[in-house]
Symmetry: C2
Subunit: 250 residues, 2 copies
DNA sequence: CCCTGGCATAGGTCCGACCTCTTCTGCTAC
DNA sequence: GTAGCAGAAGAGGTCGGACCTATGCCAGGG
């Protein structure tokens, strides 16, 4: 195992024992009560709780007050926590997240285009259709309402279509961290263009053309970057970025 | 502040209070003892320790047994922890890490070529020279000795030259996680080629040619990927990967 | 001058008690 | 018979205090 794990501290042993326990347990299963588990591992409940807390922070466990502790599979949402604290210090975070997406997502879209199943394509189209209908319904309001948690984003579906890889996890992470900034700072008029660009990505994936998907994604992210830059300089972003997108589409 | 922070749990309040404390404290400063700090925040020492443990896991604090708790600035090393646990499950981790590096590092090398100062270049050349001498000294041994902690890797210097960005952090992270696998699974004969390829990258950065740096980095990573694939299939990697590198150099 | 030993202080672990929340159960009222 | 509420049971959350162990510092002896 990793050499960073061992140590003379009891809590590390407890954490490793717990990690081994969790590894062999099925997703969603319930752990024994803390008192019982502590006795079984030969440590105090305080120490056990410390170890549980660390694994919970890593997303391997979910602790529910009054109910129990459950085995979870870590995903981007859990990993977002450490990154969030890191990015809170940095005012450049949005542009850096976007830069990261520009490096990763074109490749991810290409992979998705090669691997997507019919079900993936159906889900992607449904997501786009949902975005379109949402756009129509709330086009006259300033604030976009809270999106339904059940509805997965285009990015997460793309990640699924490309296969759950490290790159996919990072893309999901960056997307989640960037989402609030985009919805706050970009004018609503931009959503129309963004949705259509995302639709183009989906269709490129649907017909299984990696290069087309890559190009469509690059175009989309370039547009977003331009818009964000314009907002940063207190300019009206609509004209310039829309012009860029239009020229590229022609 | 983040809405994920608040909650009815005492430990969350303590953690937030601590985070605020840490934010305003200078790097390297020492926190008050746990007993005192717990009383000051109005929570028990158990709860305070839980909060401290979480911030330590995020890399914002460093706890030293018998000494004290110190304020730290989070870096890639700290962020590596959650990722390490995530990647321990995945046997495909090395190839995925390498895939990530292939997406990020060429761009990073290009940026470094545009931004590197004379001091950066000097440090990069020194790092390469050190790798060369190390190669000579230990060329007849199987194991490469533990590298000096004071000596920074080519990657971390490149990150510094490119400016400390999110992409740089991720590259440093991937490099650190991948290092043990590479040193274990790649034959020692490969180090000679790798060092020379890295030297080419450094010289491209030195003369300020982004495209050359990008290309040199792509070549280096392609070679690594080929070699790793060959090892995975229990083949002798030297011939094939060296051939690829030679062809690309011609 | 260096080394060594011990003391003060810091974090690490344990215990046992109590609090709060969730769930389930069984009684009660309609 | 069913809907709804109250209580019990059991889970995690918090507490305070005791003791263990590692570190840093300083005095004393070589």
């Amino acid at each position: 195992m990793s050499q960073a794990s061992n140590g003379t501290r009891v809590v590390d042993q407890a954490r490793d024992a717990l990690a081994a326990y969790v590894r062999s347990a099925p997703e969603g299963s319930k752990l024994p009560p803390e008192r019982e588990l502590a006795q079984k591992l030969g440590v105090s409940r305080t120490t056990l709780r410390d170890g549980v807390s660390r694994l919970a922070l890593l997303g391997l466990l979910e602790v529910r007050h009054g109910d129990g502790t459950y085995v979870r599979s870590p995903d981007a949402t859990q990993l977002a926590l450490p990154f969030r604290s890191l990015l809170e210090y940095n005012p450049e975070a949005p542009s850096e997240l976007l830069a990261l997406k520009r490096l990763l997502e074109p490749a991810l879209a290409a992979t998705a285009a090669s691997n997507a199943t019919d079900e993936d394509v159906a889900a992607l189209r449904a997501a786009i259709q949902h975005e379109r209908s949402e756009l129509l319904r709330y086009s006259d309001r300033r604030r976009v309402p809270r999106r339904q948690p059940a509805r997965r984003s285009l990015e997460s579906l793309m990640v699924a279509a490309a296969g759950s890889s490290l790159v996919g996890t990072l893309v999901g992470l960056a997307t989640e961290l960037l989402r609030p900034t985009l919805s706050e700072r970009l004018p609503p008029a931009f959503r129309q263009l963004a949705v259509e660009q995302r639709g183009a990505i989906v269709e490129a994936i649907a017909i299984g053309e990696p290069d087309a998907a890559r190009g469509a994604m690059e175009l989309h992210l370039n547009t977003l970057a331009k818009a964000l830059d314009a907002v940063d300089q207190n300019l009206a972003p609509t004209r310039e970025a829309a012009g860029v997108a239009g020229a590229a589409l022609a």
